[in-house]
Every structure is written in C-alpha cells, then in structure tokens.
C-alpha cells in the first residue's frame, strides 16, 4: 500500500520532471510485484493450512488486517488508470474497470462482515 501511494504521488506531482515519471513507474512495478507475491503466499498458506484461515477470522485484531487487501488493490487500480491506459490502450481500461468491480465487491463484503464477526465470535475461542 505504501509503495502504491508513493507511485501515485510521484506521478501527479505538479512540478514534474520526466525522470520523476520513470521513478513512479518503477515503484509501481515494485508495488504490483509485492502485491502479487503477497497474494500467492496467502493462497498457498490458506490452502496448505486451512485451519489458519478460521483462526485469522476469529482473532479480533488479525481479522481486521484482511481489509488491507482491497486497499492495496485500489492503489494498483489507480496507477493502471494513470499510466497503463494512455500507454497501452483500451484493453487496459477494461482491465481497470473489471479490477475495480472485483475490489468493490471484496471491500463491501469486508466492511459489512468483519465487524459482524467481531460481534459474534465468543471471547474464549482466541484466548
């Protein structure tokens, strides 16, 4: 998430030099790499050890960090709109729109269900 915001900010700084845009693009690539690496690691972790997923959801603090996934994806979508759409053409805007819809669905599910799990999970389970 931090790398995503840095790349967006570098891109839209008002007194820009051409070299700054390149730094923004490099940091954007790093951001995408980190995000994909995190995704793959999470998928591997939850498929090899399925009980950890239940444990994460039941824990009062750790489950909240599941919300950072849509936020990171959001910074990637922003940079796709700024950089990839002018450079790569119309298929990039379809990609950005599709990713944004997926991100929206995930974030609404997170926002409505994670606090609910907070109310419902009894204290004894995670002590």
């Amino acid at each position: 998430m931090g790398t995503g915001i840095v790349s967006i900010l570098l891109h839209i700084l008002p007194y820009n030099g051409y070299w700054l845009q390149w730094i923004a693009k490099i940091i954007f690539a790093v951001n995408v790499f980190l995000f994909v690496a995190g995704c793959i690691l999470s998928i591997i972790r939850y498929s090899l050890y399925p009980h950890t997923f239940k444990a994460v959801i039941s824990h009062p603090v750790q489950s909240m960090f599941l919300g950072t996934f849509p936020m990171g994806l959001s910074t990637i979508i922003d940079m796709i709109c700024f950089v990839c759409v002018p450079a790569w053409g119309p298929w990039a805007e379809h990609l950005a729109w599709a990713l944004w819809i997926i991100d929206t669905v995930i974030s609404i599910v997170c926002a409505l269900s994670l606090p609910f799990l907070l109310y419902v999970t009894p204290l004894k389970k995670y002590l």
């Binding site: 009062p60 909240m64 960090f65 959001s74 910074t75 709109c81 609404i108 926002a111 409505l112 994670l114």
Partner: protein
C-alpha cells in the same frame, strides 16, 4: 454469557477502522477509474457506485470514531505494541475528503 466473557473497551484499538476504510478508499479509486473510461454510461455507473461506497464507508467509520474516542477518554492511550494504530483514523478522513 458470564461476565468473564465480556469484551472490555480497553481492548479496542483503531484497527477496528480498517475494514470500513476499504470502502472509502475504493470510492476514491472509482472516481479515477471513471475518469479513465471512455464509455460515458459506464463512467456514470462507476461514479454512482462510488457515491454509494462513500455513503457506506464514511458513516460507519464515524461510528467507530465515536467508540474509539470513548476508549481513549476512559482507558487512555493503547498499549505500546499497538501504538502505531493511532494513525489509522487519518485514513477514512483523508480518503473521504478526497472522494
């Protein structure tokens, strides 16, 4: 439910905000996506959906702010391990302003 099962207000940290902020951040991103789309009907739908997301996220985060404020006044600052979370309230305020 016995009394030792009760969750204490002192155990609350600002990380409760995190799932709600995802909606607000997404609405800001939706504005940028709508700007980049060429199909005007899709752009309009994206902007309407962004408004709805903003409407879901910001009031819920205001409610969590109230609980957090009460926790701060009654139980003072959170423990040292979670002290970084005091910066989290900036998230919905900043993203909400941007949206």
């Amino acid at each position: 439910m016995s009394s030792d099962d009760d969750t204490h207000l002192s155990s609350m940290t600002a990380v409760w905000l995190m799932p709600v902020v995802t909606c607000v951040v997404n609405s800001g991103s939706g504005a940028i996506v709508a700007n980049a789309l060429t199909n005007t009907e899709r752009s309009f739908a994206t902007i309407v959906a962004s408004y709805i997301l903003w409407g879901i996220g910001l009031p819920l985060s205001m409610m969590v702010f109230v609980i957090y404020f009460q926790r701060l006044t009654i139980h003072k600052l959170p423990p040292k391990e979670t002290i970084v979370s005091v910066f989290l309230p900036m998230g919905p305020l900043g993203s909400g302003a941007f949206s």
